[in-house]
């Protein structure tokens, strides 16, 4: 009689389902993955490869490693990076050498594809793990990556 077996099967499967959720209700603490995000800012640690935004590290002498070769600018698919560069005379050799004036990075256009960092021959730009990028005005997302007055580290050639 399928009518009664239907009832039996129905009740049986319902009870198995309720046992699964009931078990989790009792062991609610076990295996919790939830992170209380804004409250755990101090302890929150992102993975080292996490792509937050592109930054240009400077050392204590305010020197960076960017030679202004523009490979990142060419590699970028959507024009996120613009480099304003100049030629300056190097005192020792007396030759003209390329140097960056401003390394402009439009975070608002960046898709975090990582092609610029892949393309950089001198590792001048790296990923930062910062992800809290919300601002009230879009123009604030346009950043100049090299600090004012900085210069390229000695001995960096592309």
């Amino acid at each position: 009689m399928s009518y009664f077996s239907d009832i039996y099967n129905g009740i049986k499967t319902l009870l198995t389902g309720m046992r699964v959720t009931g078990g989790y209700f009792i062991n609610a603490r076990k295996g919790t993955l939830t992170q209380q995000y804004p409250d755990n800012r101090e302890t929150l640690k992102m993975f080292e490869r996490f792509r937050g935004e592109v930054v240009m590290p400077h050392d204590e002498n305010n020197e960076h490693q960017c030679t202004g070769c523009q490979k990142c600018e060419i590699a970028c698919p959507n024009g996120t990076i613009e480099i304003i560069w100049d030629r300056a005379i190097v005192e020792e050799t007396g030759k003209k050498k390329k140097k960056i004036d401003q390394h402009i990075y439009h975070l608002s256009m960046c898709t975090m594809c990582g092609l610029c960092i892949e393309a950089c021959p001198t590792d001048a730009i790296v990923w930062a793990q910062n992800f809290e990028n919300s601002v009230y005005d879009r123009t604030q997302l346009t950043k100049v990556l090299n600090q004012p007055g900085s210069k390229v580290k000695d001995g960096i050639e592309d």
């Binding site: 699964v20 993955l33 996490f50 590699a75 594809c113 092609l115």
Partner: protein, 374 residues
């Protein structure tokens, strides 16, 4: 006068249109369906697309081959790694380079993890579409572990862009193998739980069994692929037929069910979770040593000709057609996306069913709208 005619002569029914979407929680994105309904019965479904069309194909015509890869992340964002792989494979085919074994194995592992993550999300959303909210949390809990693995190795959770033509962007993280093994042991206990909670459930069976039946002939003719076609008994697994990467080195079964209804499409995906898990398990212990990329030229120029590469994403067959004239940009690049062909099935199988079933049918077709709109 027969009973039906009597009813028809006495009760006049009127067909009318309703819009489902574009901002409807059950359409899985900005997809608008124009439904012609007669009471509760669906008479016609017409999808209205293009709300998030970004014209990726046109953008590809001006981008270099390295830059195209990251655009494919944004197509089917749930199997982004497999999309990347497709473009990389077609470029490698054009340049006639053979990537190292290590690259192939790592690509395969991550592709299968992507498939598991995608099916996990689908399972949660499937449960939610038929009204069970708890499935969503359980599925996301397991998916979170995979996303963490990706984040540690690739740097991003969804739009990974880990493949480049010629290999991988960087090597796997030292923790990768351990984390994946942890995940396998964890997930093996969870799939039976999925079954207990939803698959065997009497309400779920009632909602999916015999609903939205797609016959084998229709599945082939509509160009359906992936779990949608395999639920109808069409053997179409690209991993088996046109094997790529390291799929020829692993043992796995192509999951086939012949009923063609929503339940069999559901079962295909649940079985595929097991198969993907077994593929990962076979490969994770013996990732060969070696290089992680072959250095390509900074400007890749494909020789003149036409190239076609098919891969199996979580939703079905993704084809990349590249027509090159020998310059650094493709002359024409076409993505044959699985979602687009699978969506065209919808009108055929939803016709005549109740309006409440449409959501369940759409959930089993597993629509990702950016994949359709490209």
């Amino acid at each position: 006068m027969s009973k039906d005619q009597l009813i028809k002569s006495n009760f006049k029914t009127e067909e009318y249109f309703i819009n489902m979407g574009p901002q409807h929680p059950a359409t899985h994105g900005v997809l608008r369906l124009i439904l012609t309904i007669d009471g509760e019965i669906i008479r016609n479904v017409e999808p209205d697309l293009g709300y998030i069309h970004r014209s990726i194909e046109k953008m590809c015509e001006r981008d270099s081959y390295q830059q195209i890869v990251h655009l494919t992340d944004r197509m089917d964002y749930l199997s982004s790694h497999i999309n990347n792989e497709a473009v990389c494979l077609v470029v490698e085919k054009g340049l006639e380079i053979e990537v190292p074994e290590r690259v192939k194995v790592i690509r395969t592992i991550i592709a299968e993890l992507t498939r598991i993550a995608s099916h996990c999300l689908w399972w949660g959303v499937m449960g939610m579409d038929v009204g069970a909210l708890t499935t969503y949390f359980y599925a996301f809990r397991d998916r979170e572990m995979i996303n963490d693995i990706f984040e540690e190795t690739c740097g991003a959770r969804l739009t990974m862009n880990y493949n480049i033509p010629g290999g991988l962007m960087f090597d796997i993280h030292p923790n990768f193998v351990k984390r994946v093994k942890d995940f396998i042991t964890h997930f093996k206990t969870k799939i039976p739980e999925y079954d207990r909670l939803l698959t065997g459930n009497v309400i779920f069976q009632k909602r999916t069994k015999g609903i939205g039946v797609l016959t084998k002939e229709d599945a082939i003719s509509f160009g359906a692929s992936g779990p949608v076609a395999r639920g109808s008994g069409v053997s179409c697994d690209i991993r088996k037929i046109h094997s790529y990467s390291a799929y020829d080195k692993v043992n796995f079964n192509e999951v086939l069910f012949s009923e063609g209804d929503s339940l069999s499409r559901y079962k295909v995906r649940i079985q595929e979770l097991w198969e993907s898990l077994s593929i990962v398990e076979q490969l994770i212990d013996n990732i060969p040593e070696g290089d992680i990329k072959i250095q390509t030229k900074a400007v890749i120029k494909l020789p003149k000709g036409e190239y076609y590469q098919r891969v199996e994403t979580a939703r079905g067959e993704l084809g990349v057609y590249v027509n090159s004239t020998g310059t650094k940009n493709p002359y024409r690049l076409k993505f044959r996306s699985p979602g687009f062909s699978n969506l065209s099935v919808l009108n055929k199988i939803a016709k005549g069913s109740k309006i409440g079933d449409l959501v369940a049918i759409m959930a089993t077709i597993d629509i990702v709208v950016p994949d359709i709109d490209r």
